[in-house]
């Protein structure tokens, strides 16, 4: 365990921040501009994990385990959320035979 933490510490903290920022931005751009619902879900995961990465890095650098505990919770919630999201996706595919997010505007009032 200590080896992993030492390994994480060999890279400076700034690098992690920059990497997380890039990953988060990619994810957000995907969510905003893609129309395929599967891609959007994947981009959501990307955003989650960029945050997770940052949390782990800070946790290791500050020798504070609570950041890592927090990561586990996020992963748990994300898993549950993906289940629901994929279920909606399956129903969408069955009903409108498409995974285009704009098809969902039929649900509006």
């Amino acid at each position: 365990m200590n080896d992993v933490i030492t390994a994480i510490r060999t890279v400076p903290l700034e690098h992690y921040v920059v990497l997380s920022f890039i990953l988060f931005s990619i994810g957000m751009a995907g969510v905003l501009f893609r129309r395929n619902t599967i891609i959007i879900l994947m981009c959501l995961e990307l955003m989650f994990n960029s945050v997770n990465l940052l949390l782990t890095a800070f946790s290791a650098h500050h020798s504070d385990p609570s950041g890592q505990v927090f990561v586990f919770f996020i992963m748990l919630v994300a898993a549950a959320e993906v289940t629901v999201g994929l279920a909606i996706l399956v129903m969408m595919k069955r009903n409108v035979d498409s995974v285009d997010i704009n098809q969902l505007n039929r649900l509006k009032w």
């Binding site: 969510v31 704009n102 505007n105 509006k108 009032w109």
Partner: protein
């Protein structure tokens, strides 16, 4: 003691149980079963009251002392507390009953007469489709009336007071499909509310100065109040009594209340509920005795009411209306007695009046029943031979109310006349005039109904008209016996009696012990002889005028001017209409056209329009475009982030 508590609780419990059960099972109970059940409940309640009365210490004390005792045994008042009801801060109102001479007397009247009238109603209402509802409401009324007379504090009395008001309203409007009956019911309700406001204000004032509303404590502390306060409180309580007991200026509801079924008129609007005002004043006689001004107000209110309504009674043609005006007039006489401080005479008259007025109303009901709903006495006549029992009992009732010596009304009315004479001979003349008018219209009623020849449409008497069934005539007979001998309950010294009822009531109402009769026996005999002579002369006059009548009386429109005014009830209804109803309607209409049309409506419509327009605007944002939502979400987060960073 435990036995007393149980019995006391059972007295109101039986009618309540009967009311609830008949109300719930009103569709299931067929035929006479609802009436039987309701009657049984009241009879049981009467039995409990009678046992309580027999076990009451004072009765025993009076017996053992040969009814001579000056101060009957202590402990004449039992407070039976069932549970704490209102207990907030300084206010403590227990749900308790007060059992003493006064409440026992009233309980016996309410349940005793109530039983007879319930029994009678079985026959009278037997073909009405809503008979179970009727009995349920009649039982509920008895329950409320028992709360009124048994309550150990003003609040309990007030609940009963409102309860009887409600039942009165329900039963007047029992045949609710006739709009006029509904109007009469509403009129009674509104008039009673006006009185109730006075009652409540009186209670509030009383509580604010004494901090308690229990009768025993209030009466004990009454002496500590200033005269002005007591006068104010008693005047307010009297306003309540005016409303309930139908005195000027609120009496107009009672004649209209005759819209209800006849047993209701007998029970509520003659024998029990309308005497609640008198009961209230006797109950708080310790307060009233300290307020001479209020007593004068009571005296003159009662006097004017009784004169006015007795005169109206002479020109009424509806059999029940005559009796209704007679009731108002007799109640006025009782208030005269109260105003003179003759509380025992008032209570005595309440009792005998309950007997003979219930009898007269039930007899009138029997006549109406016999003639298939006809109420106009001008279209009656010659019923003497057809409805024999009704005729004989009605005759006894008439003799009793007219004050023929030996009958109950004679003794009680004489007690009031004597008290009036003692105060001032002019008062005696005035009350005498009331008695003579009473005698005149009652014999007019009797002669027009039972004597002469039948004047109605066709010649129905021989064929159609019939005597009522036994279930209706038995109560008549019992009440006739009571009207005959009721006077012996309080036989005055003049006839060798000891006024047992007065001595009995003395233990409950403080005011009674202050009564003093100081007329010499010769004076009493003379006054009495004059009274009886005038009454006999009036009967002769009535016989001469109406005894052998075969033609119809003229319509009120064709009478001479003054008589027409009286026949139109002194135009009091019209006066109230132009004084209160028309201005009220005028205000309502203007409030509608200004307040409603110009202020409220634009406000309401305007707020509706605004919401609608805002909604149309906001709807654009819900486009259904998922990317747009997500974009909005991200933008919002960025704004929040920037705001958080820069606001630190």
């Amino acid at each position: 003691m435990v036995k007393t508590d149980l019995l006391t609780a059972l007295v109101p419990a039986f009618p309540l149980f009967g009311a609830v059960v008949t109300a719930i099972l009103r569709r299931k109970l067929k035929g006479n079963s609802a009436g039987m059940l309701a009657t049984l409940m009241i009879v049981l309640s009467f039995v409990c009251s009678a046992v309580l009365f027999a076990g009451h210490e004072v009765v025993n004390a009076l017996h053992s002392a040969g009814m001579h005792q000056e101060h009957p045994a202590e402990g004449a008042t039992h407070i039976v507390k069932l549970f704490d009801w209102i207990n907030i801060g300084g206010m403590e109102v227990p749900f308790a009953f007060q059992i003493d001479a006064l409440s026992l007397t009233m309980m016996l009247i309410v349940t005793g007469i109530g039983s007879l009238i319930h029994l009678y109603s079985i026959g009278y209402m037997h073909d009405d489709p809503r008979v179970a509802t009727f009995f349920s409401q009649l039982n509920l009324f008895t329950f409320a009336m028992l709360l009124l007379v048994m309550g150990a504090n003003f609040v309990m009395t007030f609940i009963g007071w409102e309860g009887v008001g409600l039942c009165s309203y329900l039963l007047i409007g029992f045949w609710y499909k006739t709009p006029a009956y509904n109007y009469a019911a509403r009129k009674a309700f509104v008039m009673n509310r006006i009185g109730d406001v006075g009652f409540v204000l009186g209670l509030a004032w009383l509580f604010s100065v004494l901090g308690t509303l229990n009768y025993t404590e209030v009466m004990a502390k009454a002496g500590t109040l200033s005269t002005e306060t007591i006068t104010g409180i008693t005047l307010l309580l009297f306003v309540g009594a005016i409303g309930k007991s139908a005195q000027l200026p609120l009496f107009t509801w009672l004649p209209d209340a005759m819209a209800g079924p006849t047993p209701v008129s007998a029970l509520i609007h003659a024998a029990t509920m309308v005497t609640a005002g008198i009961f209230l004043i006797v109950r708080s006689s310790a307060l009233f005795a300290l307020a001479p001004f209020t007593q004068d107000v009571i005296l003159y209110t009662g006097l004017i009411t009784s004169l006015l309504t007795a005169s109206i009674g002479v020109f009424q043609n509806d059999i029940k209306k005559v009796l209704a005006y007679s009731t108002v007039s007799q109640l006025g006489l009782m208030f005269v007695a109260l105003g003179l401080g003759a509380y025992s005479a008032a209570m005595f008259h309440v009792t005998t009046h309950a007997f003979f007025k219930a009898l007269l109303f039930l007899g009138a009901g029997s006549v109406i029943h016999a003639l298939g709903g006809e109420q106009d006495i001008r279209k009656m006549g010659g019923l003497k031979g057809v409805t024999k029992i009704t005729y004989v009992t009605f005759l006894i009732g008439t003799l009793a109310i007219a004050g023929i010596p030996g009958f109950s009304g004679f003794f009680s009315k004489d007690a009031i006349l004597m008290a009036a004479y003692q105060e001032h001979p002019m008062l005696y003349v005035a009350t005498m005039a009331v008695s003579l008018l009473t005698c005149f219209y009652m014999f007019r009623l009797l002669f027009l109904t039972f004597f002469g020849t039948y004047r109605g449409p066709g010649s129905e008497t021989g064929t159609h008209a019939h005597e009522s069934p036994l279930v209706m005539t038995v109560p008549l007979m019992v009440l006739a016996v009571l009207s005959l001998f009721g006077g012996f309950l309080n036989l005055p010294h003049l006839f060798g009696g000891h006024e047992p009822m007065k001595h009995y009531l003395e233990t409950a109402a403080d005011g009674i012990s202050g009564e003093h009769m100081f007329l010499s026996e010769t004076t009493e005999w003379t006054v009495m002889a004059i009274t009886v002579g005038l009454i006999l002369a009036t009967i002769a006059l009535a016989w001469n005028r109406f005894g052998k009548k075969t033609t119809l009386d003229p319509e009120p429109e064709n009478l001479p001017a003054f008589q027409r005014l009286i026949a139109r009830k002194w135009k009091i209804d019209e006066l109230y209409a132009s004084l209160f109803e028309k201005p009220y309607q005028w205000f309502s209409e203007h409030f509608f056209s200004i307040g409603e049309r110009m202020i409220m409506t634009p406000l309401m419509i305007g707020s509706g329009h605004t919401t609608e327009r805002l909604g149309k605007l906001m709807r654009r944002f819900q486009s259904g475009n998922m990317s747009f939502y997500l974009f909005g979400m991200v933008m919002g987060m960025i704004v929040l982030l920037v705001w958080t960073l820069y606001s630190v």
